[in-house]
Symmetry: C2
Subunit: 441 residues, 2 copies
């Protein structure tokens, strides 16, 4: 007589089934044998809560599995792990807190939720003794958060730098490769589904800043107030500046930058010129990259697909498997959400942007008259800013021409004062353009 | 009255204290507060076993901690985790097996040991219910093994590609950037301590093949016989071929290549031309990189320092922390050494090199006479190999000149036959050079 050993099952509930949710459903099906060969157990999707149960999601779901009652899924005693893929803050926060309170482990891809309400959620998870994991919230399929909490955990991190928004990187890549202006590149991104109808969250850097706040907490063991992060997007970049960047040996990327700085941290999101020789310059299209420096590991870079159905599903199911591994050895909680024990995470101030030091690309529109460069250089010099190089290409008589100046390292505050002074000289025909240069490798 | 809670201690024993061991000692000291803030426990190095206790290791060690009795450390009931940094196979195997038998968890950086005896060690660890971790064995500080077993675990991997030996990559970088020949570049690497006095293991690709066999087992859940891996090193590369590579838009790297292929795998180590536009081409000097493709995560690349005291120590202590996290929640073993449960790992054959298909760079030394190209092209064509481009630069009368041919995709066996035929034609003055082209991105 054949004996059949029943494989252990871990039941999962899914809240929200848009693009990523559909990916999770597909992955759990398509790769079920791989997952079972590793866990010795089955991850079983029991319920999927969606607002509209009638909508076609491009994946077959047993009608008995679909429900529009989110609270029922959260309350189901059969379900051990809840995946939150609703997005947004208000409802998601309520459901996640309730799931945690009910003793469910939580996996989420919701960066906005974590950036704004992370602390409250982590504290709730600690009280309930459950895990909350969120690898998919930053850089999609790239397992960078797990690496920071995991094998690189012994390091004191000095900095984290990232290209974290595929929409922006796609737009910047088109602007660079085709000389397109922002509006045209955005339009193309929207046609291809890489940008939303309302692209504000992406192109104004907010999504990147949400991700940065998560990376900073993980790397440095600190809370930062999201509202204090300096955030600039890419919508005011011009084709002309993208072109000058190339001629100067740079490429413009939207960077998230976090740095330890004494007792505080630098936390900023802005377009930056990176040298063409920097591997970050080669991260094209919808790809993401994260570069970290730790005091032992040195510089490590990760790159891959930062968004999309399948990479994001990979990160979500990876988190499910990590929780399942705990459950299978009878453990509720093995690692605190930020790697550091909750009681060791401290509040730190974000260094004011005015005190940041870097090199600057400045472009002035000037009427081409003798003595203009001297006046501009004078105003910079008065504020302690020295010039690395100046570039003036066209001579066109009475029309305004671009004058580009690349500075040595200078303090943001001093640059602001110099530009203010230059504004009063009546030698420029429009506001100067400024792009920071990030060339530490 | 102040109450003082004693922090829990986990005792660690170290076998071998060369460069990496010294790094581990330093890291545990310098970053002890970071480690404690994450674990809520202390990692305490209790004993260090070395052959010569009198040797200066550049780090202060309490004399009471040093011993030349390796067996005493392995037997110490106080010690929970043994770190093996002896290197080599024979002694290391004996000590690791004994430590496992004694119920110790093991952390090792020993790729040769794992490539040759991994299966035996993993089986022993399963019997004893302990963990054996080895992140430092592949790509130094880059946490790629943890990522494969961890957050990317839900994927079915299709391929793994790596630059895994810093010595070779340093030599190739110098050959590329300075036009140096192999011997000169090797000499420089030896002066700088990047290459051993006997560099065979590194430059002949053996170290890379050890690491590849580990990556293949982790990615595909398979055992491969190390002796069946096709291994070619870089010692026969010439400055001329490195130069031609650049002119054709490629850079030569020593690649480790693992691919799923039906029921078998491809497993090969050889110099390869990669396109300059491939991020792998930008991995310079002693840096390492690993690129993986999974059926959900897509293509992910990791790069960083692949060797050296500090990055390797980062990986070793990261492993210690992972084991400590288990111990702190009362768990002996949470993840099998290869991610897959031991019983699900299968033996698979390595696809014979003769059946491999790729594009080829072929360089012939020919006497420049009319009809030579036709003869060579004829021999290639007879064997089903079509030519993508041919390049003949110099005309020098009676002396031999290089004739370079880049083929379309061809089978290794057919290329071998064509070269054999060409050898019989008495039109070449030395054996042809062959470098495979790897341009799948």
């Amino acid at each position: 007589m054949e004996e059949r050993v029943e494989m252990k099952e871990i039941k999962v509930g899914l809240l929200g089934c848009g693009v990523v949710g559909t990916g999770v459903v597909r992955l759990l099906r398509e790769n079920s044998s791989i997952i079972e060969e590793k866990l010795g157990a089955r991850l079983v999707l029991k319920s999927v809560a969606v607002r509209d149960t009638g909508k076609d999601r491009g994946v077959d779901l047993d009608p008995g599995m679909l429900t529009d009652d989110f609270r029922q899924v959260i309350a189901d005693p059969d379900i051990s792990i809840v995946i939150e893929l609703i997005g947004g803050c208000a409802t998601a926060r309520e459901y996640v807190l309730k799931a945690i309170e009910n003793g469910k482990h939580v996996v989420t891809a919701n960066k906005a939720l974590l950036a704004v309400h992370g602390r409250e959620l982590y504290e709730a998870a600690a009280r309930s003794g459950v895990e909350i994991r969120y690898e998919a919230a930053v850089a999609g399929g790239i397992p960078v958060l797990s690496a920071i909490k995991g094998n690189m955990a012994a390091n004191r991190f000095g900095s984290v730098l990232g290209i974290l928004n595929g929409t922006c990187n796609y737009i910047l890549t088109r602007m660079t490769e085709e000389g397109a202006d922002f509006a045209a590149a955005l339009g193309r991104a929207q046609e291809l589904g890489y940008a939303e109808a309302d692209p504000t969250f992406d192109v104004e850097g907010i999504d990147t800043a949400h991700k940065l706040s998560i990376l900073i907490s993980l790397c440095f063991g600190t809370w930062v107030a999201f509202r204090d992060i300096h955030v600039e997007g890419i919508s005011s970049l011009t084709a002309l500046d993208v072109n000058f960047a190339g001629r100067l040996g740079y490429r413009i990327k939207l960077l998230a930058i976090g740095k330890r700085d004494g007792d505080g941290v630098e936390a900023r999101v802005h377009p930056a010129m990176v040298p063409l020789t920097d591997p970050l310059a080669a991260i094209s299209g919808v790809f993401n990259a994260v570069r970290l420096t730790g005091n032992y590991v040195g510089t490590v870079m990760f790159c891959g697909r930062g968004a999309g159905m399948e990479p994001t599903a990979s990160a979500v199911v990876g988190d499910l498997m990590a929780i399942a591994r705990n459950m299978l050895v009878g453990v509720g909680r093995r690692t605190a959400p930020l790697g550091f024990l909750d009681e060791n995470i401290i509040d730190v101030p974000i260094k004011p942007m005015a005190e940041t030091v870097c090199k600057y690309y400045l472009r002035f529109s000037v009427v081409d008259r003798p003595g203009i460069l001297a006046k501009i250089a004078g105003a910079l010099g008065e504020n302690g800013i020295s010039i690395n190089s100046a570039l003036q290409t066209a001579r066109s008589g009475s029309e305004a021409v671009p004058l580009v100046i690349v500075t040595h390292e200078a303090r943001e505050m001093d640059v602001g004062r110099a530009l203010e002074k230059i504004g009063t000289l009546e030698i420029t025909t429009e506001n100067p353009r400024l792009v920071r240069i990030v060339d530490e490798l």
